[in-house]
């Protein structure tokens, strides 16, 4: 280590730029779109033609003033109604990081969009209007962020200018949050007082908050520690596509049979033993093929093609797994779901379940409970789950699936439900940890 540090660098040291994905959520008029507009504007991420387009539309919607919300409200109906209908994605970069923003609407009927925008996020920003404090929507959005296991949460207390920059008010809102946060599964929460409209504490520190010693919003986004949200324990690769060249000109490829997929967890190395499911056969990794050449090891979330030592029945939907940290493998599932369709969920209904690269038929056998967002309490045995409801359910699949608990692996612990006939995506599901995992007995794996 020391010698390395003393050596003069032969090539310029480049810090790998990483990506922070975050979403913003709040109620109507909390100023989400304005906040994003302010982040882009003050971080100099806006271009002249975008500012020009804003100015062109200012007279229509902004009463002569530039309306920063027009930057994200991309659809005509949104501009006319002054609301955000669908998730809008925005991109900007600072010298420290690249950012992907999902602006998720606050309307109660569009909560499914928050799930869409937040499912891949490292961080969620929940906006609160300083005048109103915590309302049901704040609890709902925080609960969804917790349910989705988003690692970091920022509570942006907006419109502080309208409460006279009162520290007292800021602390009250913080206390309102801290009342229900212990009931949720969120490890890292940051409270920031700001005004999106005027730009206080968004990019530049505010002169109005001498009592606040923390970072600005952008300062926090640039420095929050996101080192690997990816699971590096327990190798998992759902097979997406069987790679078999037809009539290759290169004779070395005549017998090539590779399994292509994105690693959903852990690390794989040439020569290691792997278990293939549902075949239940153990084999060895012969080669890790990539377009840029063969590699000795690969890790989550890389996309690779594995060549195995033995000829095994593997197709799309199969999973190749490492011998440590074994997964569940069953037809009986227990999960938390967010229901996203106007036709409510009732026990006995059949759907398609898409999990990793595998789609199977499924029947919902039981509605275990419903989470009441207003109180964060569970009510057992609901008759149905309506649009935007969250609850625990049990399901039975037509074929067993290979899975982990969502709390340890987002990619092998998540699923969607698809309505048969309309093909609508009706639910987002997070699997609870398996009660039993695949077991190893004398070198064989028992299911």
């Amino acid at each position: 280590m020391f010698t390395e540090e003393l050596m003069p660098p032969t090539t310029p040291v480049t810090v790998p730029i990483d990506i922070l994905r975050f979403n913003t959520c709040g109620s109507v008029d909390d100023g989400k779109s304005t906040l994003i507009g302010r982040l882009l504007y003050d971080s100099k991420s806006l271009m002249e033609d975008q500012i020009e387009a804003l100015e062109r539309s200012a007279d229509i919607t902004g009463g002569g003033q530039i309306n920063l919300a027009n930057l994200t409200d991309g659809l005509r109906a949104e501009r006319e109604q002054g609301i955000t209908i669908d998730v809008a994605y925005r991109y900007f970069a600072t010298p420290r990081r690249k950012f992907i923003i999902a602006d998720t609407p606050g309307h109660v009927q569009y909560t499914r969009n928050m799930v869409t925008g937040a499912s891949n996020a490292n961080l969620s920003i929940v906006l609160v209007d300083a005048r109103l404090g915590v309302i049901e929507q704040s609890r709902r959005h925080t609960a969804i962020a917790s349910l989705l296991r988003i690692p970091h949460l920022v509570v942006a207390v907006n419109k502080m200018d309208l409460v006279g920059w009162s520290e007292q008010r800021f602390l009250e809102i913080r206390a309102q949050f801290e009342e229900f946060l212990p009931r949720l599964d969120i490890k890292d929460v940051k409270f920031i007082p700001l005004s999106a409209l005027n730009g206080d504490n968004v990019v530049d520190p505010s002169p109005h908050t001498p009592w606040y010693a923390g970072p600005t919003l952008l300062g926090h986004l640039e420095t929050v520690h996101i080192a690997s949200d990816w699971n590096l324990h327990g190798f998992r690769m759902p097979v997406q596509w069987v790679n078999r060249p037809n009539n290759p000109t290169d004779s070395a490829l005549h017998d090539f049979r590779g399994f292509s997929g994105q690693i959903a967890g852990g690390i794989v190395r040439v020569g290691q033993k792997v278990l293939t499911l549902p075949a239940g056969v153990v084999t060895t990794v012969k080669e890790i093929w990539t377009y840029d050449g063969a590699v000795q090891e690969a890790f989550c979330p890389q996309s690779v093609t594995l060549v195995l030592a033995d000829d095994i029945d593997i197709s799309r939907g199969s999973m190749i797994i490492g011998p440590d940290y074994l997964p569940g493998f069953t037809t009986e599932l227990h999960a938390e779901v967010c229901w996203m369709h106007s036709r409510p969920l009732q026990a006995g209904r059949k759907y398609f379940l898409k999990h990793t690269t595998h789609t199977v038929q499924v029947i919902v056998t039981e509605l275990v409970n419903q989470l009441k967002v207003a109180t964060l309490e569970s009510v057992p045995n609901p008759a149905s789950l309506a649009m935007n409801d969250i609850g625990e359910i049990r399901l039975r699949t037509a074929k067993p699936i290979v899975f982990d608990g969502y709390n340890v692996n987002r990619l092998t612990g998540s699923f969607i439900l698809i309505e048969q006939g309309t093909n609508a995506t009706v639910a987002a599901g997070m699997l609870l940890p398996p009660r039993e995992t695949v077991k190893s007995e004398n070198g064989d794996y028992v299911i």
Binding site: A88, R90, A93, R112, P245, I267, P301
Partner: protein
């Protein structure tokens, strides 16, 4: 100790490869829209990374407006041959001749006429999925689009009724006649595209680099003088050193004055740019909702 870290381009790459393979796994008859432009050049490299050593499991499709830059078509054909890929070209002219596309009185642009031409090609080959190179950072209606963008039997996009897209689970199920547009570069920015071109040492058509061209000034833009864009009597023709930043039709793509002659120059230029890429496209300036309206009608 090995660092298990992916930088931003590697993240975007593995996300895009995953999406390409989902298309190959879930659709019967996919196609990849390839124009020869910089975004679709990246798409092709990602397809190679997703599917090699096999052949690409889908043909390339291009709608030729008849107003393309000749350099672009030459590049398109050459690149398809290099890859051993099947290239299908459908021309707006033929669609007009066959009555598939109808020209409005005085309509010179082929922009709108691409739509019926594309939809007819989808029907002709019964494609159930078209992979395109659109990016969300290009335009604000695009910013609302999913990776898997569902189109009804008329090819229409309904922005208020999009399928929720959660984690990396894409719902590709269709009923007969319906269609999916898939955009693996959704999360890429213009800068990411050029950085990827640089990292992968990809060839791009020569018009992206600085060259001498006769231009006229129209509506705040330098338009290239050619048979379709003759100078008007009162217009001054200037010989300028220019390049194109985005490639559309030869009649609506503005040239920017630039000395950038390498990919590194272009990256430096974009880093310092003060207008967006589509700021040089007249088709998007038509109205606030120009792109939204075209997409609802079946545009890419």
């Amino acid at each position: 100790m090995t660092s298990y870290h992916l930088d931003h381009l590697q993240h975007l790459e593995t996300e895009a490869i995953h999406i390409m393979r989902e298309v190959a796994g879930e659709f019967e008859r996919p196609a990849l829209l390839f124009s020869g432009g910089k975004d679709s050049i990246c798409l092709l490299r990602l397809a190679e990374k997703a599917f090699r050593p096999s052949d690409l499991p889908m043909p390339l499709l291009n709608v030729d407006t008849g107003h393309h830059f000749p350099e672009l078509n030459e590049f398109r054909d050459r690149r398809a041959t290099q890859l051993g890929a099947k290239l299908i070209v459908r021309k707006v002219e033929d669609a007009i001749a066959q009555g598939i596309a109808t020209v409005a009185p005085g309509e010179i642009s082929r922009n709108r006429l691409q739509i019926p031409t594309l939809l007819a090609a989808i029907e002709e080959f019964r494609f159930d999925c078209c992979i395109g190179g659109a990016r969300r950072d290009e335009e604000k209606a695009r910013a609302k689009e999913r990776f898997f963008s569902f189109r009804d039997a008329f090819g229409q996009w309904d922005p208020k009724n999009q399928r929720p897209e959660i984690w990396n689970l894409y719902n590709g199920r269709l009923n007969p006649g319906e269609n999916m547009r898939v955009f693996p570069l959704s999360n890429w920015t213009e800068m990411d595209v050029w950085e990827y071109i640089q990292r992968e040492k990809l060839e791009v058509p020569s018009i992206y680099f600085s060259h001498q061209r006769s231009c006229v000034r129209r509506a705040g833009q330098w338009l290239p003088v050619n048979d379709l864009v003759p100078p008007k009597p009162n217009e001054e023709v200037r010989d300028l050193v220019v390049r194109v930043r985005t490639i559309g039709d030869i009649i609506s793509t503005g040239c920017v004055e630039s000395p950038a002659s390498t990919v590194a120059d272009i990256i430096a230029e974009i880093a310092a740019a003060r207008v967006t890429e589509r700021g040089s496209r007249a088709d998007d300036k038509a109205s606030e909702a120009a792109m939204e309206d075209r997409k609802k009608a079946g545009y890419f």
